[in-house]
Amino acid sequence: MPPTAAFTINFRDFYVLAPEIVLALWGLVVLLYDVGWLRKLPNASRQQKLGWITLLGVFGALIAAIHALMVRFNLYGMQELFNPAWMDFDRPEPVIFWGTLAGDLFTETINLFLILMLLVAIRLSMAWSFTDSWGEYFALILWSTVGMMLLAAAEELLTLFLTLETMTICLYLCTSFEKNKRRSAEGGLKYFVYGSVSSALFLFGLSLLYGLTGTTELYAIKMVFTPETGDSHIGLAGNVSGMTALLLMLVGFGFKVAAVPFHQWAPDAYEGAPAPVTAWIATGSKVASFVALMKVLLLGLAPWSNHMRDVATPGWVGVVAALAAASMTFGNLAALAQRNLKRMLAYSSIAHAGYMLVGVAAAGYSSRHSESAGSVLYYLIIYGFTNLGAFAVAAWLARDKDSDDISDLNGLGFQYPGLAVCILLLMLSLIGMPPLAGFFGKLYMFMEALNEKNPEGRLTMLWLVGLGLLNSVVSAFYYVRVLKAMFLRPAEGTVVAPAGPAIALPIVVGTVVALGFGIYPAPLVDLMKSAAVPMLDVSGELIGSSLERAMWNRARRAPTGPPTDVKLELPASVAPQAGSTAPQAESTPPPLLPGTGKGQGAASKKGGGMGKGAGKGAGALKKKGQGKGQDASKDAPPSDQPKTDSPTKDAEKTEAPKKNESGSDDLKKAAPKADAAKP
């Protein structure tokens, strides 16, 4: 963000972040309440009290998240109800805080699901007493969630890194919270050491990327790498520094999502951490990291994906495909040998990361980015809820038997048949057996992977999908071991006590999700499909705010001509944007009021680039265009800008080239001034 722009903060930006803000503040409330009022109480009752208080805050965040979605879809007339003048719902911007964070359908959806998972995880944490420091524990879990939600919303690399670290540092601490267990401290330390090394490498990758592009914003990075003509899939042939940056970043992401070969921390950390924390690392952190991975790869580095639409060419698709194959195979084979439930689930979650990387690779090479990404999101959500249930089983064993081997489950099917059947369904969903959601998710993802017109990459994808399916057969072997213990072995040793609501909740929720979205997946598929569109779409304001710098950098790198002479034009890929907004507007399911909602958002996105009078982005652009000295207020639209209102939206499509020209004219005007402003 250039320091030259004198931006004002729109209050609406805070409003969009309401769930995050509620959770962050509530973490403090929990901490203070613990220190202030509950110090004297015995540990167990402190845990329960704090747990309920934490849940209260999570409910608050949940309401905020649901509210945001209700306003977006205009359920029950929410849009009129919550539309005072200062809130500016007429022109919802897809990005907030000067383009660092996204605030669109996608973030709202992910927030909702993360909060729901958090709710389950917090309730699970109240199952038994594994630590004394309850205030710290709940606060850290809440803050890690804030990190996750912001990570999913991050639109530029610096924010991405900071939120990633917020999330992981909280989780490092939570991992070693079971202080009377050696393995907890060991797991936390391993997690921390691996995590910090990979973070350092990741940061190095980011810095290289910044060096190459001169910007940290994902969309601008994409624009810099996109060639002006020809296929936008340029790949990485011969680009050593680019390859280095890419590989370093993949190390970081590979660590976060526990993909082979960066997975070594996962089994130890999963086994060592208290079960609720493990559940949260395996679900929440994985969901957020996958979202960030997809954003960086599919948005920022999309031009580097592959060369000429083939998979096995220099570019990240090939690398991700290799990681996927390795993760699936290794994860499943290693899980075969495990006797500990948590460790087994750790290896299986490595394998699941492998399946999802297949989807990511597919989204990278295909021309149907957002559909493929939507299938990965669907899988993530299903995976998240079913795994929460699976780890709740581990929590149950840890609570009553103080050990979590698979053999500890012996005879559970006879003592608690109801919950055992639920666990059975969870395991079948994790194997991918129809008609459960795990099966549909896997099939959906694999089908999207194969659903690509161009034949070159398709064969590779078919092999990858075939490998994935074979791997699910292998996985059946170790998941069935859980079923075998529950239903075929007699109970032995200490018997587990009844689960209680804390442990039953995740199991039942997971089962309901697995069964419900397995038999009737259509609603979630639709939601994820429409959520994936804004995830991978251009963020309008970025065009105004930092594209110019990006263009400058690109011009400087160009072999011919000094920067002042070079013609700055919007790259060719902006032009298709006009076309790409149309399906986006259609795919948002409920009809929106004219002049509100996503359709208008899309229009205003475009307007941001093309100089829409009222748009903030255009305002920013304008300001830069007219020089920094001018104290232009954002509300006063410059008179020379063409007004674009929603009625003219259709006409705009046909006029797109012309507008483009005017937009680039604008930039051309802007360029010398900005140039002069540079030291």
Partner: protein, 560 residues
Amino acid sequence: MSDLVLLTLLWLIPLIGSVAVLFIPKSMELAIKGVSLAATIVTFALTLVAFAEYVAPNSSASASLEARAKVNQVKADSVEGDADVHEEPGAAQSDLMVRRPWIPYFNIQYYLGMDGISLSLVLLTGLVSVLACLASWGIDKQVKGYFSLFLLLTASMMGVFLSLDLFVFYVFFEVMLLPMYFLIAVWGGPRREYAAIKFLLYTLFGSVFILVAVLILYFFESPLTTTGFSGHSFDIVEMTRIASTTGYYTHNIQQLVFILFFIGFCIKLPSFPFHTWLPDAHVEAPTPISMILAGVLLKIGGYGLIRLAWPLAPLGAQDWAFPVAVVGVFSILYGALVAMAQTDFKKLVAYSSVSHMGYVTLGMAVMNLAGAGKYYAYGVNGAMYMMIAHGITSTGMFFLVGVIYERAHTRDLNKLGGLLNIMPIYGAVSILIFFGSMGLPGLCGFIAEVFVVLAAFNYNRPLAILSAAAVILTAGYILWTLQRVFLGKSEQYKGLPDLTVREKVIAVPLVVLTVALGVLPQPMLLSWMSPSVQQTVNAVARGASQGQTGAGNTVASSQP
């Protein structure tokens, strides 16, 4: 009864029964058994209703699937939703077909229907499940779980035979595995866990092949664009039509798809070399489950071959016909020889299943398409007949083995003996059913073998001679078994009670059908089944001839 209700109830009633059983208190074992029996009987009655509808004169249900599919259209089956509005124009007429959108995004339909092929197997499933439920009366360990899983298994088997959408087919196909796994693993013999996991992994492995083939068919986009069909469909009827009348699926793709389907269903069938799970599963499974396994589950493999592998990839089938026929003949001979070497009664019957299923493979593979596939129709009819006949005789054989195991507590053929004197009714029933399995003229197995060998003779003489000679081996092991079990004198087993009333109730339908299918093949089965078989054969023959004539078209149309 409308089609939607009838066809849905066929699989839903066992499913409801399976859930209902769970809510009956553990102590009321008789109620549990009663509810299960009622559910299977109602299901069987419904299959008879469907049968009556199918064979009724001027019934609209006996039209070909393709013709009926045209009447039953899902309106607005666009990819992008909006499929809430639909009508079934054919709803008024009962034609045993129902189509509803399920997951419109992938063009997945809830698409059920029956023709002669599936109807015969649905009837078999209905009958065998009633008999197996009766045979389960003696189960005393975790009764509730047993009958719940049993009914779930019945529901999924019904669903497999009913579905005309590949996705629905696959869902039912997979749902079947889990109850089977538990039924073997909990209520089985000493090595039950090994047998159960072997069954599960083999079948899952096979289903991967099937799924890959399905995905290839779904996503294949042909160079031939003139057909008006662009893939992205799970509709079996439509895809069969495309494969048989147009050159949409190219030769290479059909070869690949055929091999994948063939391996997948061969594991289920099972055919050499994928048969090794079967003896283990049979030996360890409790008697009623063995009956279901041999009577119905193996038929799903054969049904997959007839319904999917051949019609969806006729060109591939033709290319691979000879190797497949060799595999079939080898299975026949190998199964018979191995059966001869067994001393475990149940294992012997299991290997005889491998041998008999070889006839199914052979009957499908003898693709002599001269004369509009006249001889080939013999083969496919024979394969279908073998499935039904084997469904009846093997159910009976496993039941009879179970009866003697319950009484004598051994299945060792060398220890048994002299039972004909001790249990005369049991002996008579056994001899009849074993002869039926052996293929004695006048009993059901004979018709099937004759049809298959006849078709094989017109395809390849050496293979036909080998498969005909296998009858000697079959007679060898069956007669030797009968001799060891029933003839001679035995002091040890004196006083064993003969068949009880319940067991007689089970035995009677099997005996009657064994004889009736052997004496009256035409009215019993062929008159209503073979038109559908003929349609399938025609489709395959037409599709295979696309290879000669259609290849030119494909090239020509893709050249400009």
